[in-house]
Symmetry: C2
Subunit: 245 residues, 2 copies
């Protein structure tokens, strides 16, 4: 059973250890002091992706900012999640959402992939990183997923490590392919990646190219047409449940 | 294998049958004519929740509006989805999103439930209905979920039909309760409802009340804290996969 602290949770860059004093960024200090109205002595939680989660106390709160002092580690650093989440970037707001959801659902690597019908081919890595940090702060993650450089789908398939399964959601499945749980269970316990297509889906040539790879598995998410961000959460939920990521 | 039409898809109230002429609403006509720039003769898809899906042709396109004439039924009306989706309403934008996602994931009934930590207790049914129609148009659904009157959680539990399972996502599970798929599979094939709590989760008293009901099953969606709308999609994905809704 896990203890929930209601304290605000912040990602920082600095090393965390007992007694360490951490300078908070201006936006962090502003949020704690002016929005949440916290005072010197208030408890917050800190993580940096390496040293687990720390209970810390606000010190030196004044108009110029605030610092926090680490008190005790309340969760050790867990192993980084291994799931590779490959996705065709959507436009702006839906992209933020898609990134947030992938982080919440435990992706270890975010891999943008350009497909034939991908709308958004110019990604802003800083914006994606901001969405990643926000989601990690909110959902209690202790590791930030890494963001890989954007690849074309052909390149992704060429460079994919064959011992890792790549699951993709195909709207058009043959008879007998439609039991997603059975299909995933039969993959066993190897490492997994998932590929979520753009709003327009994959082209026939892309579906052909995917299906011709020995490491690719097609699954169905049912007879409804899901939006790409919904499909992402649904696919990750099934993969997490089967592989216990 | 399913044929995908790229034509715009509209929900209408009128009966659909061969040759029927359907008056489109002003917003529908505006969207087709001024946004999508469709002309007389263009193909669209119509559904009303009762008569399946129809291929129709735009006729009488002019400044005042447009009509459509039904040509042929391309999908028969399927049985209505049986899943009851009980949810604590979130605030505005996230509520729209949560409703859309539930529709996309195949909920048959939307049941708003007021819990102790529910923020939004004043629902606008017309707004929810608009989100439902938009989602149904986009995701190829032929039945609109019905929207039930808001209930308090205590009332929901008192009036719940005992032969239907009620699955809820509990962040705090005992040892051995954490295999969601196994838990769901063991329920067998009875009808199912799912209950998604508010952002603050359920109170201890509510968790107690839920767990004391013979028809309630608690599942875990993993060790991460999911936002309520993410939890909704994840839970529905597992339930759909297990029960083949």
């Amino acid at each position: 059973m896990r203890v929930f602290y209601k304290a605000p949770r912040l990602h920082v860059e600095a090393p965390l250890n007992e007694g360490a004093e951490i300078a908070l960024t201006k936006p962090q200090a502003h949020h704690l002091i002016n929005v949440l109205r916290l005072k010197t002595g208030a408890q917050i939680l800190l993580f940096n992706g390496r040293d687990g989660e720390w209970l810390a106390q606000l010190i030196n709160v004044d108009k110029r900012g605030a610092r926090a002092q680490c008190e005790s580690q309340i969760r050790p650093q867990p192993p980084a999640p291994q799931l590779i989440y490959c996705f065709a970037p959507l436009k702006s707001a839906r992209l933020d959402y898609m990134v947030q959801k992938a982080v919440e659902m435990g992706a270890g690597v975010l891999q943008p992939v350009i497909t034939q019908f991908t709308h958004n081919t110019q990604l802003n890595p800083a914006k994606i990183q901001a969405s990643v940090i926000e989601a990690a702060q909110q959902c209690g993650l202790l590791t930030l997923p890494t963001i890989s450089p954007t690849l074309k789908l052909t390149k992704l398939l060429e460079t994919w490590q064959h011992e890792r399964h790549l699951v993709f959601c195909d709207e058009i499945l043959a008879e007998g392919e439609n039991d997603a749980l059975l299909t995933l269970t039969q993959l066993g316990k190897a490492p997994v990646g998932v590929l979520i297509g753009p709003e327009g889906g994959f082209s026939d040539a892309e579906r052909q190219a995917l299906r011709s790879q020995p490491f690719v598995t097609a699954i169905s998410l049912g007879s409804r047409i899901l939006r790409a961000d919904t499909a992402a959460v649904a696919a990750l939920a099934l993969i997490n449940a089967v592989f216990e990521y």
